[in-house]
Symmetry: C2
Subunit: 217 residues, 2 copies
Amino acid sequence: MQLLFPLVTSDVALFTLIDQRLRVLLVQRAEEPAMGKWALPGGILRPDVDENLEETAKRALSSKACVSVRQLEQVATFSGASRDPRGWSISTLYYALLPSDQVPALAGIRTEAVRWEDPENHKQPLAFDHAQLLDNALRQLRDKVAGGALPLQLMPNKFTLTDLQRACEAIAGHPYDKGAFRRQIKDHPALLAIDGEFLRGAQRPAQVYRTAMDFRF
Amino acid sequence: MQLLFPLVTSDVALFTLIDQRLRVLLVQRAEEPAMGKWALPGGILRPDVDENLEETAKRALSSKACVSVRQLEQVATFSGASRDPRGWSISTLYYALLPSDQVPALAGIRTEAVRWEDPENHKQPLAFDHAQLLDNALRQLRDKVAGGALPLQLMPNKFTLTDLQRACEAIAGHPYDKGAFRRQIKDHPALLAIDGEFLRGAQRPAQVYRTAMDFRF
């Protein structure tokens, strides 16, 4: 079947941290084409409902994975006649970061059809060109963190600077120097120390932080 | 009129250098909506003709401005119900660089409907959301050059390192330190010295260069 109009979709690479490792959400397709295969969550544009393609992406995350995120970042648009058997298609790809403390709530809902996988070493071959899409999203996230952006939207409600360093390391794929990292994030306006709250463990007490409400990654 | 399917287009910010200043191509719209207004060159996707949205952009450049470029770089996709009076619309935006020695040939063709303007200070108010599109394209070009990429595709067939520095400065909007610039570009694999060819002027002779054929910005 050749569509006269292109099929317009949004797809999302939703990243989180599980046990301090970077993970991406994959969903199993319940319909043809590529039924049973794993893919990034996505959906078809509904011009009567969606204000823009970012809203299409949010609606897809909400309906396919029961997730709502504050911020999506556009990666790129993929297009062509051969990427989807239904015909000429367009996908605008976004990525988003899910706080690590929101993962357990999600896991109980649709455990059969949803998986968190290593974005570089996922067990499932992905439907369509989604492996390429995922590579692009991961590269953009890495570039952003390499450029000094802090992935605060991965962090739980309360966290220490060591937790934040581990998050950056999980994205970058290599360890950070602690001293250089502390200097880099010093006085970051979105990083708020919680007065009098410290994590006490084997080391000396660590200040506990939260993220400013209006922070955008 | 509300379209059941979205209107899918590609638009291009085509940059060049004129008298060592950065310029962007604007075309005057010959049809409604926004007839008579100035806009980035662009066109509507033809799924029967275009392999992907980049081809839509190339076709638009070719038909509206008689320009063919080797490389387009995707900037972002803009979408929504309110950006075009025809209904829900999508534009995938690209930018491209035109060698400065190809501008005169172009100028003779359709002088009425095509203008090269200062991208930050264009005299014409732009149609649709094209002012926003142009801002995004300019920012992406600047970020790339600030990150160390060389805008070799702006250069004429033969050029000196001073010409190249002027091109970078025109994009960045501020002067470069000559010594630091020479160190940065030293041994760049796409920068080829033409044996025995020098430009002789008031200063000491300057080596003449060309760009490697397979260079991608």
